[in-house]
C-alpha cells in the first residue's frame, strides 16, 4: 500500500456515509409526498436502488465507470469484482486516498441518481419491473455518463471532463440533468396517474417531507464538499456554497409562492432547499460565496415556476424530478459558465462575468445537451422495452387500491393499533 493522506481519507469515508444517508432521506421526502396507499412502495423503490446498484457496482459498475477509458466513452473491465483495487490509491500527490474509499463514495452517487427517478413514476410502477429497470438503467445510462463527466485520467479519461473540459464539481450532469431527463422519459412511457389533474393527490404526510428534505440537506454536504476528495479549503468552499445556495433557494421559492398563490408553504420551503442544493451541485467548487448566493436566489424562483409546467404540457412527473433536478442541474451548469472564478478554485475557470469570455459557457452547454439527450433517449428505450415485454405500468385496479397492499402486502399506517380485529 502506498502512502495515503489520512485526513483526506477520513473526509471521503465520512462523505460516503453522508451521501448514502441521502437516499433514505429521499425515500422519506418522496414517501411523504405521495398518497398514503402507496407510501411504502415509494420508499421501497429507493431502498431497492440501494441494493441493486451496490451489487452492480461491485460486479462491474465501478470498473465500467472508472476503469481505464475506452476512447472517453466507457471504462474497461480491469476492476470487475473490484479486483485490483484493494491496495491501490488514487488522487493527487500528497492527497492520496484508497481507491476503495473513492469507489464507495462514487457508489452512493449512483444509488441516489437512480432513486431520484422513482419520483417521476409514483403510485403506478410495477415493483419487479422497477428492480429490473434499476439494474438496466445503471448499466446503460449511469455508468457511461459517470465515466464521461467524472473519470478524469490525465486527459485520457471521460470525454466531458478530459476532452470537452466542461466543469461539473459534484454531478450537475451525472446526477441532476441525467435524472431529470430520464425522469421525463419515464413519466412519458408510463403515462399519467389515474386521476391526474382531476383528483386531489395531495401529499399525505408533510412532516415526513420536511424530515426528508432535512436529511437531504445534511447529506448534501458529503455530496458536494466530499467531491473535493480532500479535507482542505476546496471542501470548505464547496460546503459553504452548498449552505448558501440551499438556504437562499428555500427562501425565494416560498417568496415566489407567496406572491403567486398568496401563501408560503412548507412543501415550498422543502422543495426550494432541494432545488438550491441541486443547482449548486455542479458549481459549488467553482463559485465564490456571492456567486453561490446569486445562483441560489435564482434557482428557487426558476424551479418553483418549472414544477408547474407539467400541468401545462400534460406529463405526470409526479414529484417533480424534471422541474427540480433537471432544471436545477441545467441552471447550475450554466452558472459555472457565467460565475465561475479561479479565485475560488485555481483548477476551475473564469466565467463570462469574470472576464473569461464564452469559452467555458459553451463547454457547459455542450455537456448539458449531450447528457440530457443521451439520458432521455436511452431511458425512453429501456422503459419502452420493459413496458412492451414484462409491463411497467400497474393494472388500473391495483393502482386504485394502492401499491402497498398490491406489491408488498403491507400498509404504512395502523393508527388504531387494533384495526386487524375489524
Amino acid at each position: 500500500m502506498q502512502a495515503i493522506n489520512s485526513g483526506d481519507t477520513a473526509w471521503v469515508l465520512a462523505s460516503a456515509a453522508l451521501v448514502l444517508f441521502m437516499t433514505p432521506g429521499l425515500a422519506i421526502f418522496y414517501g411523504g409526498m405521495v398518497r398514503a396507499k402507496s407510501a411504502l412502495n415509494m420508499m421501497m423503490m429507493s431502498f431497492a436502488a440501494m441494493g441493486v446498484t451496490t451489487i452492480i457496482w461491485v460486479l462491474y459498475g465501478y470498473s465500467l465507470a472508472f476503469g481505464k477509458s475506452q476512447g472517453g466513452f466507457i471504462g474497461n473491465l480491469d476492476h470487475i469484482g473490484l479486483s485490483s483495487t484493494l491496495d491501490q490509491v488514487t488522487g493527487a500527490e500528497g492527497h492520496q486516498i484508497p481507491v476503495l474509499a473513492f469507489a464507495m463514495f462514487q457508489l452512493t452517487f449512483a444509488i441516489i441518481t437512480v432513486a431520484l427517478l422513482s419520483g417521476a413514476i409514483a403510485d403506478r410502477a410495477k415493483y419487479g419491473s422497477w428492480v429490473i429497470f434499476v439494474g438496466v438503467w445503471i448499466t446503460l445510462v449511469y455508468l457511461p455518463v459517470a465515466h464521461w463527466a467524472f473519470a478524469a485520467q490525465n486527459g485520457e479519461g471521460g470525454w466531458i471532463i478530459d476532452k470537452l473540459k466542461a466543469l461539473d464539481f459534484a454531478g450537475g450532469t451525472v446526477v441532476e440533468i441525467n435524472s431529470g431527463a430520464a425522469a421525463l422519459a419515464l413519466a412519458l412511457v408510463l403515462g399519467k396517474r389515474d386521476g391526474f389533474k382531476r383528483d386531489p393527490m395531495r401529499p399525505h404526510n408533510m412532516p415526513l417531507v420536511l424530515l426528508g428534505a432535512g436529511m437531504l440537506w445534511f447529506g448534501w454536504f458529503g455530496f458536494n464538499a466530499g467531491s473535493a476528495l480532500s479535507a482542505g479549503s476546496l471542501a470548505a468552499t464547496a460546503m459553504i456554497n452548498t449552505q448558501i445556495a440551499t438556504a437562499a433557494a428555500a427562501m425565494t421559492w416560498v417568496a415566489y409562492e407567496k406572491k403567486r398563490d398568496g401563501k408560503a408553504t412548507t412543501l415550498g420551503v422543502a422543495s426550494g432547499a432541494v432545488a438550491g442544493a441541486v443547482a449548486i451541485t455542479p458549481a459549488c467548487g467553482y463559485l465564490n460565496p456571492m456567486g453561490a448566493l446569486a445562483l441560489g436566489l435564482i434557482a428557487g424562483v426558476v424551479s418553483a415556476w418549472a414544477v408547474t409546467r407539467k400541468y401545462k404540457f400534460g406529463y405526470d412527473d409526479s414529484l417533480d424530478v424534471v422541474g427540480v433536478h433537471g432544471v436545477g442541474g441545467i441552471l447550475g451548469m450554466i452558472a459555472i459558465g457565467l460565475l465561475a472564478t479561479v479565485t475560488a478554485n485555481e483548477a476551475g475557470a473564469d466565467g463570462l462575468f469574470f472576464s473569461g469570455g464564452t469559452t467555458q459557457l459553451n463547454r457547459q452547454l455542450i455537456a448539458i445537451v449531450a447528457v440530457a439527450a443521451f439520458s432521455f433517449i436511452a431511458t425512453w428505450l429501456i422503459a419502452t422495452v420493459i413496458q412492451k415485454t414484462i409491463g411497467f405500468r400497474v393494472y388500473r385496479d391495483d393502482e386504485l387500491t394502492g401499491l402497498d397492499t398490491t406489491f408488498h402486502a403491507e400498509s404504512a399506517y395502523d393508527i388504531t393499533g387494533n384495526s386487524n380485529r375489524y
Binding site: 386531489p200 395531495r202 409562492e257 412543501l267 422543495s271 400541468y311
Partner: protein, 112 residues
C-alpha cells in the same frame, strides 16, 4: 330519552365538554369525522397546484339525556359551539327507544 347528536368545529370540543360536565351530563361520546355543509370545502396548494378539499374535519358529539333535560343540554351545546361564522355545525335530536348499561343490565333512565 333523547340522543343529541352535534357536528361541531374541532376547536370547540373542549369548551362543550366543560359546559356539559357543568350541566351535569353523565357521559358523552366524541368521534373525529369529515363532511361538508354550506361551508363547503377549502382549497390547499401544493407546489402551485390547487386542490379542493371537499370534506372538512369536524367532531361529532353524541349525548344521551332524559327527555326533561334535553332542551337545556341542547341550548348549552348550541350556545357553546356558536362562533357566528360559517361552519359552526349542526345539531339534531332523535328519540331513543331503550338504553342499557352493559355491566349491570340497568335499563332506561337508570342506565344514563
Amino acid at each position: 330519552m333523547k340522543l343529541i347528536t352535534a357536528i361541531v368545529k374541532p376547536a370547540k370540543v373542549d369548551d362543550i365538554k366543560v359546559a356539559l360536565q357543568a350541566a351535569g351530563v353523565a357521559g358523552m361520546t366524541v368521534s373525529e369525522t369529515r363532511g361538508f355543509g354550506r361551508q363547503k370545502g377549502h382549497t390547499e396548494i401544493y407546489r402551485g397546484a390547487e386542490y379542493t378539499v371537499d370534506f372538512i374535519p369536524k367532531v361529532r358529539i353524541e349525548v344521551l339525556v332524559e327527555d326533561a333535560e334535553a332542551q337545556s343540554i341542547i341550548d348549552t351545546i348550541v350556545t357553546t359551539a356558536n362562533t357566528g361564522s360559517i361552519g359552526d355545525g349542526k345539531l339534531w335530536v332523535t328519540p331513543v327507544e331503550q338504553v342499557i348499561r352493559i355491566r349491570t343490565g340497568e335499563r332506561g333512565g337508570d342506565a344514563l
